[in-house]
Amino acid sequence: MKRYFRELSVLFAFLAILLLLAFRAPEFFQPSQLLSMLCDAVPVLIAACGMTLVIVCRQIDISIGSQFALCSVFAGLTASSGLPMPVVAFVAILCGAAMGAFNGVLVAGLGIPSIVVTLATMVTWREALRWWREGEFVSNLPENFQWFGLSQQVGQITIIGIAILLFLFLAFALKHLSAGRFVYAVGSDKEAARLAGIHPQKVTFAVFVLMGALTGLAALLTAVRFPDVDPKAGQGLELKAIAAAVVGGVAISGGRGYLWGVAAGVLLLSSIAPALVFLHLQPQWEKALQGLIILLAVAADGWRAVRKKD
């Protein structure tokens, strides 16, 4: 219990907001409103899962916002060219994985710090996209693209369902697969992991590829919600994902973090905007409150570290 104090406190904060809304604004719990809120949280959750692995591995990836935009555009173009939806999904995920692999080669293979590599790719992908598309939306999407050709509500449920299944799988795999443990080992002590026969470079590379693939999936699940694809999508996604991971108890210094804590972080951070609306408060407080939550989370970590030392 004490071990998960950090994660549980985030979960309780989220439940506290729900409780407040239950008393003050029960209309928040209308199914359509909840579905739309959860749908908004899906890309952040998926990206935050990937980011958790990246951070646990003692790396960072700030290029995922740009990857997201490129993946969305590729998915849109594939769909408008008339190819079937499974191919569209495959293209989006592959496109993300390829960009992740590019980061991975530079970080793991050449040993360049990930903050530098992903800063470079963040700018590069974004600018390349702007030069190529000149800000043009991808429209003329086929019928079966938006909501996978389903009704809006079924489409929303599908998206949320995919995200939940993926989350459960990743959370389970991180704890129960050797590969998951290798990520923790490499993030804790790269040299010790190497001496134990683990290939830290392979692990790091794989983590970046997975991050990219997850970003591609997040992009697809976002793109299908709209009638056309915005080439500026995904701006700030990297910050949301990092924030959710940090709030959810992932140590930025690597080696520690649980996905379910991150899920609680995503829910907490993404419930703030709708909560403000329903409580008839100024919606522009959202960013400030999110900032405050992040500060509280890191201050709690710092406080704990200081107390532990003594």
């Binding site: 697969l177 050797s178 002590d189 010790a192 992991a193 190497r194 001496l195 026969g197």
Partner: protein, 509 residues
């Protein structure tokens, strides 16, 4: 002795969560005295040192300095009161020069005042002279040898006005000659009125240097006595609280066939060259040599950390190419590294996780972790190797050095290796745990393991080894069988004095 003592500790207690690290330690130190602190790993020496240097706050007890009660020590006030500590690994800034390093310890009026470098340089020179070091103050520290760095550190402490100098295993990485130089420095400090708290596991050092000795056991100070009139076995008895049986367990088997065979092995990057070696199942080959002779480097080549670029390695008669630790593990080689605090054990991870770290592909064949099996395996090794821990869930960092070493050993035993490379297996390990580790190594060898044991402890090499290989300048210069080895010849070969077939210049200092 004159009153009051320089440092007086009374009834110090300190707990970490459930672990009571110190349960009432009393200790005093006078100026001009070397007071040795002895105890098994986990007896509380490190914690006590951290209390004195202000890194930890004690839960109870009192600290007096020159008769004045000190309510609270933090690292800054400890320094201001003249308390300085020197650890096994020098804590200097490798890219700064000697002068700059020493200057950091010197008193500065304020952070923004200008540093007079010429003055500092002269001060550094004086201080270096005071510790008998002939070092150019403008050299970068990373170019210095280990003992030179240690001297710089002592000079820095003196520059900071240290009156209480704590030396924690200062000779752990020194050769015999360097140790004698250090002795001279310590004796000199004593005549200058400095109080030295000296921690070491080497008995001969305690008797050579210390005026008094305090023995810690399980967080309590058991006895404080003059070293005059003391003998080794009484001291060991006090430390372990029981009789230590015959120091080195004898071999019970005859070596069988050659397990590991190496011909003309070399690696340019690490200076290892022309190594020929046969390691048989059931034998311990001790590797002697001075620091920098290439023993650890050879181990790293064999384990694929810095892969060989010339020569051949074969295992059980079959050629093997070892390009990475993973491949070494697959070929049945295990490596317990020297620097266990950094590389042997992942400190944040539970002991059980650490123990299975190297056997994932075989132990978890479907990649699914089997937590029950892992716990059983860990409990087995905890029992077998006598690891002192409440359970396998405790993080590796919470254990004492000797117990971490056992965890590191367990990790490699779990791989069921054919060849086990042990790099300084008992460095910084107390007498009791040391003889336990020796017994474990011998038992495994009797069961058919081939062991390559690197050690700078000559007595250990002579006592444990069935054969001894002496390295110098990156290659094996001489081999002894267990019976014809004596300390003098081994040391002479290690220093490159013997007329051996290989005439080698030491690769680097």
């Amino acid at each position: 002795m004159q009153a009051p003592p320089l440092l007086q500790l009374k009834g110090i207690t300190k707990s970490f969560q459930a672990v009571r690290a110190l349960r009432g330690v009393s200790f005093d130190l006078h100026g001009g005295e070397v007071h040795a602190l002895l105890g098994e790993n986990g007896a509380g020496k490190s914690t006590l040192i951290k209390v004195i240097t202000g890194a930890h706050q004690p839960d109870g007890g009192s600290i007096e300095i020159e008769g004045k009660a000190i309510p609270r020590i933090d690292p800054a006030s400890a320094r201001a009161m003249g308390i300085a500590a020197i650890y096994q690994q020098p804590a200097l800034f490798p890219d700064l020069t000697v002068t700059e390093n020493v200057a950091l310890g010197l008193e500065t009026p304020s952070t923004t005042s200008r540093i007079r470098w010429a003055e500092r340089r002269t001060r550094a020179q004086e201080l270096l002279k005071r510790v008998g070091a002939d070092i150019d103050p403008d050299t970068e520290v990373r170019k210095l040898s280990m003992p030179e760095q240690q001297l710089v550190e002592i000079a820095r402490s003196l520059g900071a006005g240290a009156r209480i100098l704590i030396m924690d295993e200062p000779t752990a990485s020194l050769t015999q000659n360097e140790v004698h130089l250090l002795y001279a420095v310590v004796r000199d400090l004593r005549t200058q009125g400095v109080g030295v708290i000296y921690i070491s596991h080497r008995m001969e050092e305690i008797f050579a240097l210390a005026d008094r000795v305090t023995v810690l056991r399980d967080g309590e100070s058991i006895a404080t006595q003059d070293t005059k009139g003391m003998d080794e076995s009484t001291l060991i008895k006090l430390m372990v609280g029981r009789e230590v049986s015959s120091l080195y367990p004898p071999s019970e088997t005859n070596p069988a066939g050659v397990t590991l065979s190496v011909r003309g092995l070399g690696c340019n990057a690490s200076g290892v060259h022309d190594v020929n070696l046969d390691l048989r199942a059931g034998e311990i080959v001790g590797f002697a040599g001075i620091v920098g002779a290439g023993r650890t480097e050879l181990a790293r080549v064999l384990f694929g950390i810095t892969p060989a670029d010339t020569g051949t390695i074969s295992l059980d008669g079959k050629g093997a190419s070892i390009q990475s630790p993973r491949e070494a593990v697959e070929h049945g080689i295990g490596y317990v590294p020297e620097d266990r605090r950094r590389h042997g054990v992942i400190l944040e991870m539970p002991i059980a996780t650490n123990m299975t770290m190297a056997i994932h592909p075989t132990f978890f064949p479907w990649s699914w972790l089997r937590f029950g099996a892992e716990r059983d395996l860990a409990n087995g090794y905890i029992r077998d190797l006598g690891v002192k821990t409440p359970s396998g869930d405790v993080p590796g960092g919470a254990l004492s050095g000797g117990n971490q070493q056992k965890v590191s050993l367990a990790r490699w035993l779990a791989t069921r290796p054919k060849v086990l490379i042990l790099d300084e297996p008992t460095q910084g390990v107390d007498v009791g745990a040391k003889s336990e580790i020796h017994k474990i190594i011998r038992r495994l060898t009797n069961e058919g393991l081939a062991v390559m044991m690197i050690s700078s402890d000559l007595a250990e090499v002579l006592g444990m080894s069935d054969r001894i290989a002496v390295m110098h300048g990156g290659t094996i210069v001489k081999e002894f069988t267990g019976t014809d080895a004596n300390p003098h010849d081994v040391m002479a070969a290690a220093l490159g004095q013997q007329g051996s077939s290989h005439e080698n210049v030491p690769a680097s200092e």
